[in-house]
C-alpha cells in the first residue's frame, strides 16, 4: 500500500461507515418484534404504514371481527390497528432517521473568492470540512446504534404495555358483560317479586308497608342494573379504544364468559420469578444499554470538549497580475484548532461521569424494583388463583346448596317466595363474586407476565383490604 493510499484509509473507512448508516425500511418494526415475539400471541404484527399493508391489515381486522373476539385476537387487533401504538412505532422510525442523519458526514465546504486590486486579480478556492466528525465517526456510529437499540427496547416495552392494557381491558369488558347478565337476571327476579307484592297488596294479603319493602328490593335491583349497564359499556369502550375500533366495528362480539381457571399444575412456579425478571425484562435491558452508551460517550465527551470542532481546509488560490496576465498559484492547507485555554473539558467530563453514575443507579433501582415486582406479582397471582378457586369450588357450590335448601324450605312452606328470591339473589351474588375473582386472577396473570418478561406493569399490586362485609343472608323461616 502506498503511503499516499495509507494516508487516505481513515477517510475511506469513514466514508464507508457513513454510507452503511441507512434508514431501516420498516422503521425498526422487525427489531421491535424480535424483542416482543415471545410475549405476544402468535401471529401478532405491528402496523405497517405502507398503503398496501394498510389495506391488508384492514381486511385482516375485519376478518378477526367476524368471530367473538378472544383475548389474543384483541391483542392482535390492537397491535395492528391502534393509532396510539402506531404513533409510538413511527417515533422510533423518526429516531432511526435522525440517527442516520447524524452519522452522515458533514458536507465539505467550498469557499470561492475573487479579489481584485489595481495590479492583481485573485481567485481563492478553499475546500474544508470538520475533521472531528470524520475521526469520531466509528465511535458515533456505535453509540448511535446503541441508542437506537435502547429506543427499540423502549418501544418494545410500549408494545407490551399496550398489549397488556388491551388484555386487561378485554378481561374487564368480558367480566362486566357477565356481571350485566347477572344484574339483568336479578332485576327481573326482583321485578317479579315486586309485581307479586303489588298483587298481594291488591287482594289484601300484604299491607302497603310489606309491599313497600319488596318495592325497595326492586328499586335497588333497578339501580344496580343501571350501574352494571354503564360499567359494561365503559369497559367495552375502553377495549374498543385500545383496539383502535370505532363506528360499526365497535359492535364487535365478546365471548360470553371469561376463560376458565387453569389447572393448579399449570400455574407458573414462583421460585424462579426474580431470576426470570432480571434476565428477561426489557426495561432492564434498555437501562443496561443506556449505561453502556453513557460509558462510551464519556470518552467522547472529553475529546469533543477539549478540541471542539477541529476544522481542516485545503486552499488553492490563484492570483493573476492584471497587467501581465501572469498567474501565480498558491496551494496549501489550513488547520483550525480551538485552544483549550479556558475549558479543558473538566465540566463536560464531570457531567458525563455523573450521568454514568445516574444511569448505574437507575439500573440498580430498576433491578431492585424488578425483583420486588416479580415477587409481589407472583404472590398476587398465586393468591388470586387460590381466591378464584375457592370462590368457584367452595363458595358457589355452597351458595347453590343454600339455594337448594331454600327451595326445600319454600316447598315445605317454611319460607315465602320473597325469602326464596332473596336467597337466589345471594346465590347470584356469589356467582358474580366468583366471576370477579376469576377476572382478578387473569388480570394478575397479565401483570405477572409483564413483570417477568416485559417491563414494570405500572400498577403496583395494591394492598388487599380483607372484606368485612358478610354475604347477604336470608331471614330464616320459622
Amino acid at each position: 500500500m502506498s503511503p499516499r493510499l495509507l494516508r487516505l484509509t481513515p477517510v475511506v473507512a469513514a466514508l464507508v461507515l457513513a454510507g452503511c448508516a441507512s434508514v431501516a425500511p420498516d422503521g425498526q418494526r422487525s427489531a421491535v418484534t424480535a424483542h416482543t415475539a415471545g410475549s405476544l400471541p402468535a401471529g401478532s404484527q405491528l402496523a405497517d404504514p405502507a398503503p398496501q399493508a394498510r389495506a391488508a391489515a384492514r381486511a385482516q381486522v375485519a376478518a378477526w371481527l367476524q368471530q367473538p373476539v378472544d383475548a389474543d385476537t384483541a391483542v392482535r387487533i390492537a397491535l395492528l390497528n391502534s393509532p396510539a401504538l402506531e404513533a409510538q412505532v413511527a417515533a422510533l422510525g423518526v429516531q432511526d432517521a435522525q440517527r442516520v442523519q447524524a452519522l452522515t458526514l458533514p458536507n465539505p465546504t467550498l469557499t470561492l473568492g475573487r479579489f481584485v486590486n489595481a495590479q492583481e486579480r485573485e481567485i481563492e478556492r478553499q475546500l474544508s470540512f470538520g475533521l472531528v466528525s470524520l475521526i469520531t465517526l466509528p465511535w458515533r456510529a456505535r453509540w448511535q446504534g446503541w441508542q437506537l437499540e435502547q429506543a427499540t427496547l423502549t418501544t418494545a416495552q410500549q408494545v407490551l404495555l399496550h398489549a397488556a392494557d388491551t388484555r386487561r381491558a378485554w378481561l374487564r369488558a368480558v367480566a362486566a358483560q357477565q356481571q350485566l347478565q347477572t344484574a339483568q337476571t336479578l332485576h327481573e327476579a326482583a321485578a317479579a317479586g315486586g309485581e307479586l307484592a303489588r298483587r298481594m297488596a291488591r287482594v289484601g294479603n300484604f299491607s302497603k308497608l310489606e309491599q313497600a319493602q319488596e318495592l325497595r328490593v326492586q328499586q335497588e335491583a333497578a339501580a344496580n342494573l343501571a350501574r352494571s349497564r354503564l360499567n359494561a359499556a365503559l369497559e367495552r369502550e375502553q377495549l374498543a379504544r385500545l383496539m383502535g375500533l370505532w363506528g360499526a366495528q365497535a359492535d364487535f362480539v365478546l365471548p360470553a364468559t371469561l376463560p376458565p381457571l387453569p389447572a393448579a399444575a399449570a400455574l407458573r412456579a414462583g421460585d424462579d420469578a426474580e431470576a426470570t425478571a432480571l434476565r428477561e425484562r426489557l426495561d432492564l435491558r434498555a437501562l443496561r444499554r443506556e449505561l453502556d452508551t453513557t460509558a462510551e460517550r464519556n470518552g467522547f465527551a472529553r475529546v469533543g470538549a477539549v478540541f471542539g470542532d477541529v476544522g481542516a481546509s485545503y486552499s488553492r488560490n490563484t492570483s493573476t497580475e492584471r497587467a501581465s496576465g501572469h498567474d501565480d498559484i498558491t496551494r496549501g492547507w489550513e488547520l483550525e484548532l480551538p485552544l483549550p485555554l479556558f475549558d479543558w473539558g473538566g465540566a463536560a467530563s464531570a457531567g458525563a461521569r455523573s450521568a454514568l453514575q445516574r444511569n448505574a443507579a437507575q439500573l440498580r433501582e430498576t433491578a431492585l424494583r424488578a425483583r420486588s415486582e416479580a415477587r409481589s406479582h407472583w404472590l398476587r397471582y398465586r393468591t388470586a388463583y387460590d381466591l378464584a378457586q375457592q370462590q368457584q369450588t367452595e363458595a358457589v357450590p355452597l351458595a347453590r346448596f343454600l339455594q337448594d335448601e331454600a327451595v326445600y324450605r319454600y316447598n315445605g312452606m317454611f319460607i315465602s317466595v320473597w325469602q326464596l328470591l332473596a336467597q337466589a339473589r345471594s346465590t347470584a351474588q356469589a356467582v358474580a363474586t366468583a366471576t370477579e375473582a376469576q377476572r382478578d386472577f387473569w388480570l394478575a396473570d397479565v401483570d405477572l407476565q409483564l413483570a417477568l418478561t416485559g417491563t414494570s406493569p405500572g400498577t403496583p399490586p395494591s394492598p388487599v383490604t380483607p372484606s368485612a362485609a358478610p354475604a347477604a343472608t336470608t331471614e330464616a323461616g320459622h
Binding site: 327476579a189 289484601g204 313497600a212 326492586q218 343501571a226 326445600y408 317454611f414 317466595v417 320459622h478
Partner: protein, 463 residues
C-alpha cells in the same frame, strides 16, 4: 301392634357399662323398647288383677314382684324416636323411647321404682298426682338430691289413689321435658268403685310438643311458643295408632298434657263425659256431656263414652295448627294472588320454583316436593277418599261391630253402608253470575280514606 317379650328377649338390652354390673345384679333388668308401635296391653301376670290400658304407640313397663313390692326399673337416657315414618328426633326418654313405659299398678300396691340416669346431666322423677312421702316427690334440691349421671336412685311409696297420672323430671325440667322425658302412670281401683266404670277399652296418651328445625333432628329446647311438632305420645299423624273399639264397648281415653299450651281434645261422632282428672274421679253430679274437652297444661283428663256409632271418627286437638306438621308460621298468605306471567320470571332465577298457596294450602297434602332432610311435612296422610291434610295431634277412633274383645289391630278403613257418604250434587249448578258480596281486598262499607294513596313506582329502567 307388636308382640313383646318381657324381661328377656330381642327387645331387651343389657344396661350400659356406665352402670356397675354388681349394682345391676340386684336390680330388675330394665325393658328397653326398640319400636314406636303400640304394644298389646299387658295383662298383669301377678298381683291384683285389673283391666290393662293400651298406651298409644307405647307400652307398659313390666315389673318384678319382690316380697310383695312391685319393682319397676326406669332408665333415663337419650333415645331416637321415630315421630313419623322417616322422621327421627333425638330425644331424651326412658327405656329406649319417649314417652317412657306406662307404669300400671293397682290402688294399694307398694311400688319400688329404680331410676337409672344415663343422661349427660342429673335428673329426677316427679310422680305427678301421687300421694306419697314428701321425700319421694322428686323435686331436685327440694325433696332429694338430683340423680347424678350413671347413678341409680330408688323411689318407694304406696299407690294410694286410683286414677290417671304421669311422671316427668323435676330437675332441669325445661330442657328435659322439651327433650321428651315423660311417661304415664295408671292406678287401677283395687275393687269396683262407684265413680269408676268398668270399660272394655282403656287408652292412654300424653300430649307433647317439640320445636324441631326443618332438616334438624334435635328439638330446640329454648323454644317457648313456636313449636312445630305436635304429638300424641311423641308420634304425629299419620303415624299415631288408631283407637279401636267394638261397637257398644265402653271406652276410656286418658289424656295428659305436658306441652306449654292447652289442647281442646275433640272426638267426632260421639259425646263423652270427663269422668276423672289427675285429682281423681269426678262426682257423677259434676259430669256433663261434651264432644270437646280442654286439657290444660299439666293436667290429665279421663274421658268415657260408649262407642255406639260405627265408623272412622276423628280424634284430635281442635287447635288447627296442632294438627299440622312443620310449617313456617310467618309465611304470608298467597290466596287469591294472581301469578300470571310471574312464575316463569321467578323460575329464571329459581328453576325449581313451584307456585303454591294461591288457592289455599290444601295442595300441600298431595304435592310431593323435596323438603329438607328429616323434615316432617306440614300435612299428609292418605284416607280412603284422598288426602286427609293433617299432620300432628290427629288420629282416628274406629268403631266396628265385628271385632274381637282383645283385638286392637287396625281394622282398615270403614266400609260405609250404601247411601251414607256425602255425594256430589247432580242437579242445577249454582249460578256463577250471582253477585259477590265484596270484591277481594275490599271491605263492604269500608271508609274510603286511604293514606298513603299509593306507593312510589319502582325505579325507572329500560328493558
Amino acid at each position: 301392634m307388636q308382640r313383646r317379650s318381657f324381661f328377656t328377649g330381642a327387645a331387651t338390652a343389657v344396661a350400659a357399662a356406665s352402670v356397675s354390673r354388681v349394682a345391676m345384679a340386684a336390680l330388675p333388668e330394665p325393658v328397653i323398647q326398640a319400636s314406636a308401635d303400640t304394644a298389646e296391653p299387658l295383662t298383669p301376670p301377678n298381683g291384683r288383677p285389673y283391666h290393662p290400658v293400651v298406651t298409644l304407640n307405647g307400652w307398659t313397663c313390666p315389673w318384678r314382684m319382690n316380697a310383695g313390692v312391685k319393682e319397676f326399673h326406669l332408665v333415663a337416657e337419650p333415645v331416637v324416636r321415630e315421630v313419623a315414618p322417616g322422621f327421627f328426633v333425638n330425644m331424651w326418654g326412658y327405656n329406649g323411647q319417649s314417652p317412657g313405659p306406662t307404669i300400671e299398678v293397682v290402688e294399694g300396691d307398694r311400688v319400688r321404682i329404680f331410676v337409672t340416669n344415663r343422661l349427660p346431666e342429673h335428673t329426677t322423677v316427679h310422680w305427678h298426682g301421687q300421694r306419697l312421702p314428701n321425700g319421694m316427690d322428686g323435686v331436685a334440691g327440694l325433696n332429694q338430691p338430683a340423680i347424678p349421671p350413671g347413678k341409680t336412685f330408688v323411689y318407694e311409696f304406696e299407690a294410694r289413689r286410683p286414677g290417671t297420672f304421669m311422671y316427668h323430671p323435676h330437675a332441669d325440667e325445661m330442657v328435659q321435658m322439651a327433650m321428651g322425658m315423660m311417661g304415664l302412670w295408671i292406678t287401677h281401683p283395687k275393687a269396683r268403685h262407684p265413680l269408676i266404670a268398668e270399660v272394655q277399652r282403656d287408652y292412654a296418651f300424653l300430649l307433647a310438643a317439640y320445636a324441631v328445625e326443618p332438616g334438624a333432628a334435635t328439638p330446640r329446647v329454648n323454644e317457648m311458643t313456636d313449636f312445630n311438632i305436635w304429638t300424641f305420645n311423641s308420634r304425629a299423624f299419620p303415624a299415631i295408632s288408631p283407637l279401636v273399639a267394638k261397637q257398644g264397648d265402653r271406652v276410656r281415653i286418658r289424656v295428659g298434657n305436658l306441652t306449654m299450651t292447652n289442647h281442646p281434645i275433640h272426638l267426632h261422632g260421639h259425646e263423652f263425659e270427663v269422668t276423672g282428672t289427675d285429682g281423681g274421679p269426678v262426682p257423677l253430679t259434676a259430669r256433663w256431656p261434651e264432644v270437646t274437652t280442654d286439657v290444660a297444661v299439666g293436667q290429665m283428663r279421663q274421658l268415657e263414652l260408649v262407642a255406639d256409632a260405627p265408623g272412622d271418627w276423628s280424634l284430635h286437638c281442635h287447635k288447627s295448627h296442632h294438627t299440622m306438621g312443620a310449617m313456617g308460621h310467618g309465611v304470608p298468605t298467597m290466596i287469591g294472588v294472581d301469578h300470571q306471567g310471574l312464575v316463569g320470571k321467578i323460575q329464571k332465577i329459581v328453576p325449581d320454583y313451584m307456585l303454591m298457596g294461591e288457592r289455599g294450602m290444601g295442595d300441600m297434602g298431595s304435592m310431593q316436593m323435596p323438603l329438607p332432610d328429616n323434615t316432617f311435612p306440614m300435612m299428609t296422610g292418605q284416607g280412603p277418599f284422598g288426602n286427609i291434610e293433617m299432620g300432628g295431634m290427629f288420629t282416628t277412633f274406629k268403631v266396628r261391630s265385628q271385632l274381637g274383645a282383645n283385638d286392637y289391630r287396625d281394622p282398615g278403613w270403614y266400609r260405609h253402608p250404601k247411601g251414607t257418604v256425602a255425594y256430589e250434587w247432580q242437579g242445577a249448578p249454582l249460578d256463577a253470575q250471582a253477585p259477590r258480596q265484596t270484591a277481594p281486598g275490599t271491605a263492604p262499607g269500608a271508609a274510603s280514606v286511604h293514606k298513603p294513596e299509593s306507593l312510589p313506582p319502582a325505579a325507572g329502567h329500560a328493558h
